[in-house]
């Protein structure tokens, strides 16, 4: 969320950790001249990145065949450009893994050409899920 106070001043809430610092940024000709209100260096990194190249880690699900659960959670190993989040989700919808799957297994390599892999974040053993289709 960014609050534009004036053309030269913006306030953002850092999402680097649950503290959620209100970080004020001063700009001159689009260049950052001052960052205040952050309690740690991550706050400064966050606003710099958020104003120039916003990124997000994506967490979602992929389908699993023959597992005790019908789906398994996944995440991008690192953050990807915010604008590609929905593309990433669409690509994951087409994926189906075969049980068993383990935490850390790669579900999709280089998702949406971001260079970032999507990995499985839970274990699903072979079995019958509660959803019979």
């Amino acid at each position: 969320m960014e609050t534009i106070l004036s053309p030269e001043k913006k306030e953002l809430i850092c999402i680097g950790c649950p503290l959620g610092c209100n970080v004020a940024v001063e700009l001159e000709d689009g260049q950052i001249t001052a960052i205040t209100g952050n309690t740690c260096p991550r706050g400064a990194d966050y606003v710099r990145k958020e104003l120039t190249d916003p990124k997000r880690i994506v967490t979602s699900l992929v389908r699993v065949k023959g597992g005790e659960l019908a789906v398994v959670p996944v995440k991008t190993v690192s953050d990807i450009p915010k604008g590609q989040v929905m593309d990433c989700i669409r690509e994951l919808k087409a994926v189906e893994l075969n049980a068993p799957v383990s935490m850390g297994d790669v579900a999709v390599k280089n998702v949406c050409g971001t260079g970032v892999d999507v990995v499985v974040t839970a274990n699903v053993e072979k079995g019958t899920s509660c959803i019979e289709e």
């Binding site: 969320m1 999402i15 649950p18 959620g20 967490t59 699900l61 659960l69 915010k82 839970a122």
Partner: protein, 469 residues
């Protein structure tokens, strides 16, 4: 055999040093800490088919920043602890629900000798800890944990100590007094989370969320990513109950509107939700006539607060804190019944699992001290009182003799405060003050008391926290 034992005498009876009720983040961390402190004979009882508790359905990232210095998803965070429990060969029983909690009469103290043990590793041998304990504590009543599972039937475990780690549950519609029909399509946010994240089912396509607690915010994003249209998050209070980062990442990122001081005043639809009516509320949280707006939708998610799950605590007659809905505990996280400890969301609802793990580990260590005869009976419990702006503290009392060099006090404030001081007072006199840029009810705060400071006050009667200018 005493009369109290006879009641339970017909079912299988086991004896352990420590029973941990709940295999979620609190139970896992408590078990690991107790084992690390030397408690061999313990067991975790878990109601679900797997360990990990609610973390299993929290597939989003952001867990473990404090503990592991990296951002994990819920299942990954739980996985670290589950792996350790398995490595340490800590026994656990799944699909097992505890239905009763009580105490033995003192004359039952020797009865358990003949009974079997849950932990095969310990064999029938009496542990050294047990010897020390019986000497130091005499005939102190044991705890009776009555559990049930499809596999083992009904049975009772006799334990020297119990850690309550049952977590919490969501406030249901019935507790919210929302008028209207009872059509399909109304879910608590956590139920919807389980459907979506563990069962791969979608509860609906057009969604309104009442309550801006973290689960509601997380589900707003989750439902959006799964193709639903989240039309609105309505919050009764003038501020969100969720973490700020979740408002940014879950609502703002997807353009989902958050309306504060707004509530649902009617639910329309007979078979299935067809629309909800929202209205603005006044400062007394009463709907303002004329501000109603009908929002067509097929699903209403409720994220209106969490309630510690304390039915079992009630069976022991534990004194409760009305502000937390959890048991009252002292500095050792020990409840009013000696040897019964509480930690995690059953004690008070946390916003970060890291703090749950930390708190639970303390409960595990204290339970170990109790079992090893190193935790003296509480003698002088100094109450921790809530002053201006503070809603509750955990613990609610401190025995200076039993505390470590420092004692962590966790608390929540009752409103949003900016640029205020958090003051710690002893016998009403301020002894420390810390400037806070921002305090909000949704974010748990903590303050550290130093033993030296407490010991330095003659005739200490009261510790209090307050928010001042």
């Amino acid at each position: 055999m005493g009369s109290a034992c006879k009641v339970h005498g017909w079912v299988e009876r086991m004896r352990v040093d420590l029973v941990i009720i709940g295999g979620g983040p609190a139970g896992l961390a408590a078990a690991i800490a107790a084992r690390e402190a030397g408690i061999e004979n313990l067991v975790i009882l878990e109601r679900d088919a797997r360990l990990g508790g609610i973390l299993n359905q929290c597939i989003h990232n952001g867990f473990g920043l404090h503990t592991f210095k990296e951002e994990l998803t819920g299942p990954e965070y739980a996985g670290r602890y589950i792996e350790k429990v398995r490595e340490m060969k800590i026994p656990y029983r799944l699909d097992t629900i505890v239905i009763d909690l009580g105490e033995t009469q003192e004359d039952c103290a020797d009865h358990g000798e003949e009974a079997g043990r849950v932990n095969g590793e310990s064999g029938g041998r009496r542990s050294a800890a047990e010897g020390v304990r019986e000497q130091s504590r005499g005939g102190r009543a044991r705890k009776l944990v009555t559990a049930m599972s499809r596999k083992d039937g009904l049975y009772t475990i006799e334990a020297e100590a119990v850690i309550l780690a049952m977590g919490c549950r969501e406030r249901p519609r019935g507790a919210l007094n929302i008028p209207g029909y009872r059509p399909a399509g109304i879910y608590s946010a956590g139920t919807a989370q389980r459907y979506v994240n563990m069962e791969g089912r979608m509860p609906g396509r057009e969604v309104v969320i009442l309550g801006s607690g973290d689960i509601g915010l997380i589900m707003a994003r989750r439902m959006t990513l799964e193709g639903a249209k989240v039309k609105l998050v309505a919050e009764l209070m003038p501020y969100s109950g969720g973490l700020k980062r979740n408002i940014v990442q879950c609502l703002d990122d997807y353009g989902i509107p958050l309306r504060l001081r707004t509530t649902v005043v009617n639910i329309k639809g007979k078979e299935r939700v067809e629309a909800v009516v929202v209205a603005k509320v006044d400062e007394n949280s009463r709907p303002i006539p004329g501000t109603e707006e009908e929002i067509p939708c097929d699903t209403l998610l409720l994220s209106c607060g969490l309630i510690p799950e304390n039915e079992l605590s009630g069976k022991l007659g534990l004194a409760m804190n009305p502000a937390t809905n959890g048991p009252l505990v002292n500095e050792s996280l020990e409840t009013g019944v000696p040897g019964v400890f509480a930690c995690g969301n059953v004690l008070h609802v946390h916003d970060l699992v890291d703090y749950v793990s930390e708190e639970a580990a303390q409960a595990g260590r204290k339970a170990a001290s109790y079992l090893q005869g190193n935790l003296p009976k509480p003698q002088e419990e100094i109450p921790v009182r809530v002053g201006k702006g503070v809603r509750y503290t955990v613990p609610g009392a401190v025995d200076v003799r039993r505390m470590g060099e420092t004692q962590l006090i966790r608390f929540r404030v009752d409103n949003v405060y900016r640029d205020k001081n958090l003051e710690v007072c002893l016998n009403g006199k301020p002894v420390s003050s810390r400037r806070k840029r921002m305090l909000a009810p949704g974010e748990m705060e903590q303050v550290v008391l130093r033993k030296a400071d407490l010991e330095g006050v003659l005739d200490l009667r009261e510790i209090s926290l307050q928010i001042v200018d």
